[in-house]
Amino acid sequence: MLKEDRVGKRVLLLGNEAIARGVLEAGISVVTTYPGTPASEIADSISTVAKDVGLYMEYSANEIVALEIAAGAAICGVRSLSAMKHVGLNVAADALMTLAYVGVRGGFVIVTAGDPQCYSSQNEQDNRFYTLLSKLPCVEPSSPQEAKEMVLYAVDVSEQLQLPVLLRTTTRIGHTRGPVTFGKLKGANLKGELIKDVKRFVMVPAHARLRHKVLLEKVTQARKISEDSPHNRIVREGKGVGVITSGAAYNYVEEAVRILELDAGILKLGMIHPLPERKIAEFLKHYPKVVVVEELAPYLELHVKAIAKDVAPSVEIFGKMKKAYFPQFGEFSTRMVVEALAKIADKTLPINFQSIDEQFTEASKLLMPRLPVLCPGCPHRASFYVIKTATAGKAVMPTDIGCYALGIQPPLQVGDILICMGASIGTAGGVNRATGLDTVAVVGDSTFFHSAIPGLANAVYNNHKVTLAVLDNLTTAMTGHQPHPGTGRTGMGTSVNRILIEDVARGLGVKYVKVVDPFETKEAIKVLKEAIKTPGPSVVVFRAPCTLLVLRERQRDDLKVEAMRVTDECTNCLACVTLTGCPALIQTEEKVVIDETLCAACTLCMSICPYNAIKGGSQ
């Protein structure tokens, strides 16, 4: 559907799919990514159509490589896009900051997808501040339709200024579906050319000094574009209160103003760097009270206050600084904006939220949290059982970003430190130097290629006493099963040689490297114990495919999963339940029962049962 050439057709698209459609309408011809929620579906959607429409896409090993591939193409005049989650831009930041000096010839859009509320992230950093650091222009949509339009707009601005342009989304933009109207498709064009220009493209200090000035001139030009931008506009005129907002927050403002029947003006900012200072100044002059509504940090508020100081010093500015009505954390809701605006504008609330809260507090006494868990049949559950048993709770176990972060929950409880992708091996080395304790650093297969390799090289070089447990489920599972260098498959759907993690480890000089099947628990425990005893770094690869992929394949081939069975030998000792925490194991008064709709017949419970009371698993 995404590549359908029907101008005016109106379809339901996820914000991220709308961005992918924008790619096709803008004639973007190179798309790169490292998958990360909430950005993954942009490149995934492109991956399904890339071959047909003649564009090149790749799942890069990590975000900085993704940015560099796309930058190389854009320098050669080919329109490009790179998509990543907010923390992915940290990985790519080194390239980004200097690419701003170098610039591009073909339009280059960098999507940075933030995650207020940390639905699927380790932090909720506000990536709008990257605009100040890099000085690059940035647009921010509020709906799927705008997300598509802004891809085309960003390409246009990028080519006018010869600079990459950031397109910032958040979870509620990328993961919201809404109607999107198709525009005209523009064919891909991969015929680039590098027009050599050493002073522009080679950032030695003498050139960089000059290019910094060029960048600052471009910011001035960009500000003019922002002043006239159709995306920076007054969407509602009013008297008493003026609201300045952007992105997801705008949607809550629109509804809150209506619910409160406020006579409010709304300035919606879609190009958020550089900001349209004159437009904002004009707006400030019209209102005695101005409210800045934005999620996370007071990015707009800082700017608005700076502008107000010169042009409207008496205007009262409400937001999250001195007159704090909104939090600097978490995501917003219509309710939050209704409550804040009611206070600021001195209106009574039309809805009795307090009584809803009281009633809900009473009802929620019955509730218990239902946290995300490892899927039934997940090989990581077996790996964690092995790690926990082999270390007997005596080792420190730094962990990493991915499904295996779910291992911290009881009963498995593997994971002592978690910072960012690739950090487990480095932190393990530090912990060992500081405490002398054994360490088992957990990392995934995709994450290994993303950022654990330098850590492993460092462990070999500096002889750190760490054991790296690579939980290799042959895919990038958490973000939607994207391929990676260890899978032998690319984003274009071509088959390539697999890079084996054990080969990389041996190549780096790790002396103890073994591959185990996590479901062969006894053998795996023995190997891991050996690895931990090894002086210097060691690597154990726990290899078994993601159960979701296995089940999907079986479903495709019309093969049924024969669930495990609990026989009458069961003494209800609950070893299987308490050691694995598998959701398919149901406790009853007499014996454990297996939920046949959940069981993936992985055999882990069978291998643990002290009474051999679990049978089945003819995989």
């Binding site: 109106r10 379809v11 339901l12 996820l14 929620t37 909430p38 993954s40 579906e41 639905y119 699927s120 709906s143 979870t171 509620r172 993961h175 919201t176 579906r177 809404g178 109607p179 997801a248 705008y250 949607n251 809550y252 629109e254 509804e255 209506r258 619910i259 809701s333 219509t334 309710r335 209704v338 809805i351 939220f353 809803i356 809260d357 009633q359 809900f360 009802a363 929620s364 019955l366 509730l367 218990m368 949290p369 239902r370 946290l371 995300p372 868990v373 490892l374 899927c375 972060a405 779910l406 009881p410 009963p411 958490m478 973000t479 339940v577 308490t578 598998c582 194991l585 149901i586 709709t597």
Partner: protein, 198 residues
């Protein structure tokens, strides 16, 4: 009625995203404005999942305001309760009575859950979606049973047939028949339950 706020609540893996996408697609195909909010990634792995579907000309926010849901669909009872603050007296609540247990925790008594739900609204319909899905041919289609049930409330601004058309777009061909059957079973059951009241 051309506006409608729907909250779909359940557990990751129960097919809530598909149900929400079918509703959203049917709305767009019926020339309505709509927002469907979803959560992916970490939120999907067997954790509590909620999707909001908001239909109406003036809809901007992806999520429903507390107390303002027209329809709340619990794909399992505890998750219906977890999201009950979206309900008020005018809300119709549909609950699949089959609990999705939490490993290592005792599930509350079913009667107590429904007592609490009924404190928010008297319009509560219980439905055994698992039994209906099984008799349709596949227990995994409980989500579509609930979708049929939703259509039978006659509170949606689009026709039930538009939901079936959207299913044809979104459900793989080889599973379409069993899904359509599940939809009909859910639809018929709730229609009969509602008729017997009036």
């Amino acid at each position: 009625m051309t506006s409608c706020d729907i909250v779909l609540a359940g557990v990751g893996g129960q097919g809530i995203l598909l149900a929400a996408e079918i509703l959203g697609t049917a709305a767009v195909n019926s020339s309505l404005n709509v927002r469907v909010s979803e959560l992916h990634g970490m939120a999907q792995r067997g954790g509590a999942v909620v999707s909001h579907v908001r239909i109406g000309e003036k809809v901007y926010a992806p999520t429903v305001l507390d107390g303002k849901a027209d329809l709340l669909v619990g794909f399992e009872p505890l998750e219906a309760l977890r999201n009950i603050k979206y309900a008020s007296q005018r809300t119709m609540v549909l609950v699949n009575i089959n609990p999705f247990k939490i490993t290592g925790v005792e599930y509350p008594r079913m009667e107590e859950i429904f007592v609490q739900i009924r404190k928010f609204t008297k319009n509560v319909e219980e439905i055994d979606a698992a039994a209906l899905a099984r008799s349709a041919g596949a227990e995994v289609t409980q989500n579509i049973v609930m979708l049929g049930a939703l259509a039978a409330t006659e509170r949606l601004p689009m026709k039930p047939s538009s939901l079936k058309e959207a299913m044809q777009e979104l459900v793989p061909k080889k599973y379409l028949d069993v899904n359509v059957k599940s939809f009909e079973f859910g639809y018929g059951t709730i229609r009969d339950q509602l008729c017997s009241i009036t």
